[in-house]
C-alpha cells in the first residue's frame, strides 16, 4: 500500500493534464467567473457579520500583520485563539455539541487535524473561492490551494514550508556535512543529531515515514542509531545546534531559521536543502461551523490574495504559494527553489499506515537504541 501511495502522480500533474483539455479550461474559467460574481454577496454578508475568530496552533501561524491587513481591507474585526491540535478538536467538539461554537476557521498544518475535522463532521466546505479558482494565478509547484479539497478535505492550502536540516559548521566542516536525507543515516554522524521526536505525531514521524519508505528499513535503523537526543520543543533544536550543543538538527524548517538568520555572517551553521528533495509541508485553513461563515469564506479567499501572500513573503521564512510575490529572505524559502522529496501521503492513508507511537518504538527496539533513561 505504501508503495502505491508514494508512486502516485503529483496532484499538480493531474491538474495540469486535465487543464490541457479545452473543455476543462472553459469549465474552469466559467466556474471562476461565477465564483467571482457570487463572492461580492459573500463579502457583503461577511461585513454584516463584522467579526472573524481564527483558531491557530501558534502565534506565527497567523501573523498579526495579516490579521490587521484583513481587518483594514474588509472592515471585519479579526482575532486569534491559540490552541494545540488535540485541545482544538476537544474544544470545537464541546462547543459544537453545546450549540455555541466560538471559532470560524482552524489554521493548522495540513494533515490529520483537517482530516479529523472532516470525518467528525466538524468542518464544512468553503465553497468556490475566486482566488482558488483563478486560472491566471501561478502557484508554486507542487502546491495548489485545492489540493486538499481534491483529497476530500474541507481545507484550503494557503502556505507551505520546506523541511531540511541544520548543521553546525564548527562541529562538522561544511565539506563533511550531510547533503541529503540519505546521508543523515551515515554512521559518521552517530551521536551528533537532535531529532524531533518520531514517536510522536510530528514532522519527525513524517520524515521516517516518507524517507524511510524510499531508502528502506536499514536507513531507518541507521538513522535511529545516529540520533543522540529527541525533543518536542518546537524551534529549540535549531538554536541548540546554532549554539553548538549538537552538530545536526532535523527536520528543520525555514520558519525556524528566520530568527537565526538575524545573526550576522559568518554564521556557525548552515541550512541544508537536501539534494534528494525537501519535504514539503503545506498549511491549511479549515472552515468550521462557526458563527461567522461568510467572514470565514472571505478570510480563506483573502489568504490566497496577492496582498496576503505578499504579507506572508514579507516575513523571513514565510511560505507563500504564489509566484507573484517578493521574498524577504529567498534563501529561506526551501519550498520554492528546491526539488520536492515527493508528495506527502494523503492524511487518511498516513493515519492508517503510520502509528508514530507504536512504529518508532518497535524500530528503536530493532535498532537496539533507547533514548529513555
Amino acid at each position: 500500500m505504501r508503495q502505491a501511495i508514494m508512486k502516485r502522480l503529483p496532484i499538480l500533474a493531474f491538474i495540469l493534464a486535465l487543464s490541457a483539455s479545452p473543455s476543462f479550461a472553459q469549465d474552469a474559467h466559467g466556474r471562476f467567473e461565477k465564483a467571482k460574481a457570487d463572492f461580492a454577496k459573500v463579502i457583503d454578508a461577511a461585513k454584516k457579520e463584522g467579526e472573524l475568530v481564527v483558531s491557530a496552533f501558534s502565534a506565527n501561524t497567523v501573523a498579526p500583520e495579516k490579521l490587521a491587513l484583513f481587518s483594514k481591507t474588509y472592515g471585519i474585526r479579526a482575532s486569534t485563539v491559540v490552541l494545540t491540535g488535540a485541545q482544538s478538536l476537544a474544544r470545537i467538539a464541546a462547543e459544537t455539541s453545546s450549540g455555541g461554537l466560538s471559532m470560524d476557521v482552524r489554521m493548522s498544518a495540513f494533515g490529520s487535524e483537517a482530516y479529523y475535522l472532516r470525518v467528525k463532521g466538524l468542518s464544512e466546505s468553503f465553497g468556490d473561492l475566486p482566488n482558488a479558482l483563478d486560472p491566471s494565478i501561478k502557484w508554486v509547484k507542487p502546491f495548489h490551494p485545492l489540493m486538499g479539497v481534491r483529497e476530500g478535505s474541507n481545507s484550503i492550502i494557503y502556505r507551505a514550508t520546506g523541511w531540511g536540516f541544520l548543521v553546525n559548521t564548527d562541529l562538522i566542516p561544511k565539506d563533511q556535512a550531510p547533503k541529503s536525507w540519505k546521508d543523515l543515516a551515515d554512521s559518521k554522524y552517530r551521536g551528533k543529531m537532535i531529532f524531533t521526536d518520531p514517536a510522536f505525531e510530528s514532522v519527525g514521524c513524517l520524515v521516517f515515514y516518507m524517507v524511510g519508505h524510499k531508502y528502506g528499513k536499514n536507513w531507518e535503523l541507521d538513522l535511529l542509531r545516529n540520533i543522540a537526543n529527541v525533543t518536542r520543543v518546537p524551534y529549540q533544536p535549531d538554536r541548540q545546534v546554532a549554539r553548538g550543543e549538537f552538530a545536526i538538527s532535523a527536520p528543520t524548517t525555514s520558519a525556524s531559521m528566520a530568527a537565526l538568520y538575524e545573526i550576522p555572517e559568518p554564521r556557525p551553521f548552515m541550512l541544508v536543502a537536501p539534494s534528494d528533495g525537501v519535504i514539503n509541508a503545506p498549511s491549511a485553513a479549515t472552515m468550521l461551523r462557526g458563527p461567522h461563515p461568510n467572514a470565514a469564506k472571505v478570510w480563506a479567499n483573502f489568504l490566497l490574495s496577492q496582498e496576503a501572500q505578499q504579507a506572508e513573503a514579507d516575513v523571513p521564512g514565510g511560505g507563500p504559494l504564489r509566484h507573484d510575490v517578493k521574498l524577504a529572505a529567498p534563501e529561506l524559502a526551501l519550498h520554492m527553489n528546491n526539488p520536492s522529496f515527493g508528495d506527502a501521503p494523503p492524511s487518511e492513508q498516513f493515519i492508517k499506515d503510520q502509528d508514530c507511537a507504536n512504529t518508532t518504538p518497535r524500530l528503536m527496539q530493532e535498532a537496539g537504541v533507547s533514548w529513555t533513561k
Binding site: 506565527n60 488535540a86 478538536l89 467528525k120 524551534y235 550543543e245 533513561k373
Partner: protein, 577 residues
C-alpha cells in the same frame, strides 16, 4: 470546639439544620461545583472508548489499556523517584529559608523576602528555557563561565539529566513553599523558644522540640503540596525531561491524549485519575498525621515574636540564602532580560543590542488587552479565592462539622489533576454555562485552581490560633459577624495577604488550565507567551514574560500599598493580641 454552634445563627432553621449548617452546605456545594464536577467529567471521559467528536461509547477499554500496560507502572515509578528527592530538597530549602528569615536575625531579611517573592513571580516557561541555555552540557553558559573562572575546560553542569530535573523542579517549588511556610513560622510564639532555652535546651533541641512540632501542620501540608505539584509538573519534564530521555506521568498523559490530533482522551484521563487517587491517599495521611493534636500558638494570653541571635553564623546563613537566590533567580532573570534586547535569543553580542522586540510587543493592541485582562481577572480571582478559602479553612480548622474532611479533600482536587487534563474537565463541565467564553469563567477556574494552596495556607494558620479568643469575644457579647473583623482578620492578615499574593501570581502565570478556555476577548499574557514560544518567536516570548513579571510586581506592590500595614514583615510585630 464547635465554634459556630455558640452563635445565634446556629439556631435550627429547618428541623435540625442550623443556619450555620446551611451555610456550610452551600460552601460544600460551591466547592463541589468548582472541583468535583469537572473531575466527574474527567472520570466520565476515562471510560469513553471513542474519540472526541464522535458518539461517546463507554467501556473499560481505556482503563484496561492503562492498567495492563507495564509502561504505566514504570512511568509512575520514574515520577515517584523524581518527586521524592525533589520534594525533600524543596522542603529543606523552603523551611530553612522560612526559619532563618522568620525566627533569626539573618541580615537583609526584607530584601531577601522580596527577592524570594520575586522568584515566585517569574513565569515557568522562559525560566526553564533560560536554564536550558545556561545549564546545557559543554556549551551551556554556566560551564563556559566556570571554564573561564577555573582556567580549564569544565563540563560539570548538565540540566538535561535526572539531577537537573530534580534540582530545577525543587528550585522552582521553593518560593511558593516559602511563602506558605513563612507565615507559619512567623506565627510561632517566641516565648516558647525562650522558655525552652531557660529550661536548658540548646538551639538544636529547641528547634526539634519547640519549632518543629509547632509548624508540623504547615510542614505536612507543604510536603503534600510539593509532592503533588512535583507529580503533576509538566513543562519542565516536557522541555528538559524528554530530551534527557526521562518520561514521567504527565508526559505519558500528554503522549496518550494530546500528542495526536485525534484527541482520544480515555487512557490519558484514566492515568490522571491514578494521580488523583495517589494524592487523596496522601491527604488522608495528612489527616492522620496532623490529626487531633493541637497546634495553637496564638492564644488569648498574647505572644512575643522573638528572633534568635545567630551571632557570627548570621553571615553564613545570609550567604546560604543568597547563593540560592543568585543561582536560581538572578542568573536566569539576567539571562532573560539581556535576551530581550538581543536580535536572537541565546546570542549575547553587545554591539547588536536592539529594542525592536519590545517596540513590537508594546505596539500590539492585543498585548494591551492581554495585560488588562490578566490584571483584572487575577485580582478578581485572588479576592474571590481568598474569601472562599477563608470560609473553607474556617470550617476545616475551627469546626467539627462531619463533612469538613470531604470538604477539605474536595478542595485538594484541582492540584491532584494536571492542569492539562483539568482544563478539559472545566471545558466539558462549563461549556453550557452562560458565562462560558467570558472573563467570569476564567476567574472561576483561577479560583478553583487556587483552592488547595489558599485553603491550606489559611487552615494551617487557623489551627495555630487558640479557640479562647473567639470564645472570649462571644462571652463579651460579640456576634460571629463582629468576631470575624475584630478577632480573626487581624490575626489572619499575614496569611490572607500571602494567600492573596499566591492566588494572584498563580492566576497571572496560569496557562495549562486556561489555554483551552481562553477566547480572543479573554486572552491573557500567559497564553501570549505560550503562543509566541510555540511559534518559535522566543524573543517575543521573553519580552512578554518580562511584561508578565512586571504586571505581577505591579499588582503585588499596589495590593501591598492598599493593604497599608499588612506587609508580611510588619505583621509579625503586630502579632501580639
Amino acid at each position: 470546639m464547635t465554634s459556630l454552634a455558640i452563635y445565634p445563627g446556629a439556631k435550627p432553621v429547618l428541623g435540625r439544620v442550623t443556619l450555620a449548617d446551611a451555610a456550610r452546605l452551600v460552601l460544600l456545594a460551591a466547592v463541589i461545583f468548582l472541583t468535583l464536577y469537572p473531575l466527574l467529567m474527567v472520570a466520565l471521559a476515562s471510560f469513553n472508548t471513542s474519540a472526541i467528536g464522535t458518539k461517546a461509547v463507554y467501556g473499560l477499554a481505556p482503563w484496561r489499556t492503562v492498567l495492563g500496560d507495564p509502561a504505566t507502572w514504570s512511568i509512575f515509578w520514574n515520577t515517584f523517584v523524581i518527586a521524592v528527592p525533589r520534594t525533600l530538597l524543596a522542603i529543606f530549602l523552603a523551611a530553612s529559608f522560612a526559619w532563618l528569615l522568620a525566627r533569626t536575625n539573618v541580615p537583609c531579611r526584607g530584601a531577601i523576602i522580596a527577592a524570594l517573592t520575586f522568584l515566585f513571580f517569574l513565569p515557568d516557561l522562559p525560566w526553564i528555557i533560560a536554564w536550558m541555555m545556561m545549564g546545557a552540557a559543554r556549551v551551556g553558559l554556566l560551564n563556559k563561565w566556570l571554564s573561564v573562572l577555573l582556567g580549564m575546560r569544565v563540563d560539570l553542569i548538565n540540566v538535561f539529566s535526572m539531577t537537573g530535573l530534580i534540582v530545577l523542579g525543587a528550585a522552582r517549588a521553593v518560593p511558593v513553599l516559602f511563602l506558605f511556610l513563612y507565615p507559619a513560622f512567623m506565627a510561632m510564639d517566641g516565648s516558647l523558644e525562650e522558655a525552652a532555652r531557660v529550661g536548658g535546651a540548646n538551639r538544636w533541641k529547641t528547634f526539634w522540640r519547640i519549632n518543629f512540632p509547632l509548624v508540623r501542620p504547615a510542614l505536612f501540608a507543604v510536603l503534600i503540596l510539593a509532592f503533588v505539584r512535583s507529580m503533576e509538573s509538566f513543562e519542565l519534564e516536557q522541555l528538559i525531561g524528554v530530551q534527557a530521555g526521562i518520561y514521567v506521568v504527565t508526559t505519558r498523559i500528554y503522549d496518550l491524549g494530546f500528542s495526536t490530533a485525534e484527541a482520544k482522551f480515555g487512557p490519558a484521563m484514566a492515568t490522571s485519575l491514578l494521580l488523583v487517587a495517589a494524592t487523596l491517599l496522601l491527604v488522608l495521611l495528612q489527616f492522620r498525621v496532623v490529626g487531633k493534636k493541637t497546634y495553637e500558638t496564638v492564644s488569648g494570653r498574647g505572644f512575643k515574636a522573638q528572633r534568635l541571635d545567630l551571632g557570627g553564623w548570621r553571615w553564613a546563613a545570609f550567604a546560604y540564602v543568597m547563593a540560592f537566590l543568585v543561582i536560581m533567580g538572578v542568573l536566569p532573570f539576567v539571562v532573560l532580560l539581556l535576551n530581550s534586547f538581543m536580535p536572537v535569543y541565546g546570542y549575547f553580542t553587545l554591539n547588536l543590542l536592539t529594542t525592536r522586540h519590545w517596540a513590537r510587543v508594546l505596539a500590539d493592541p492585543a498585548v494591551m488587552l492581554s495585560i488588562k485582562n490578566t490584571l483584572l481577572m487575577s485580582v478578581a480571582a485572588a479576592f474571590a479565592a481568598v474569601t472562599l478559602c477563608g470560609a473553607i479553612a474556617y470550617v476545616i480548622a475551627r469546626t467539627r462539622w462531619p463533612l469538613r474532611r470531604p470538604l477539605e479533600m474536595a478542595a485538594w482536587v484541582p492540584w491532584a489533576v494536571p492542569g492539562l487534563v483539568m482544563s478539559l474537565g472545566y471545558l466539558w463541565a462549563y461549556v453550557s454555562l452562560p458565562i462560558y467564553g467570558t472573563v467570569w469563567l476564567l476567574i472561576m477556574v483561577f479560583v478553583a485552581r487556587g483552592l488547595p494552596i489558599a485553603t491550606q495556607q489559611l487552615s494551617t494558620t487557623f489551627v495555630q490560633i487558640g479557640a479562647e479568643l473567639e470564645e472570649s469575644a462571644r462571652v463579651h457579647g460579640a456576634s460571629w459577624l463582629q468576631t470575624v473583623p475584630r478577632v480573626w482578620l487581624p490575626l489572619l492578615r499575614p496569611a490572607f495577604f500571602s494567600a492573596w499574593i499566591l492566588i494572584f501570581v498563580l492566576s497571572v502565570r496560569s496557562l495549562d488550565s486556561v489555554l483551552v478556555l481562553a477566547t480572543a476577548d479573554t486572552r491573557m499574557l500567559s497564553v501570549d507567551i505560550f503562543a509566541a514560544a510555540n511559534g518559535g518567536q522566543m524573543e517575543m516570548s521573553v519580552v512578554l514574560a518580562l511584561i508578565q513579571t512586571l504586571v505581577i510586581i505591579g499588582g503585588c506592590v499596589v495590593a501591598r500599598l492598599l493593604m497599608g500595614r499588612l506587609s508580611l514583615e510588619r505583621a509579625s510585630s503586630a502579632g501580639a493580641v
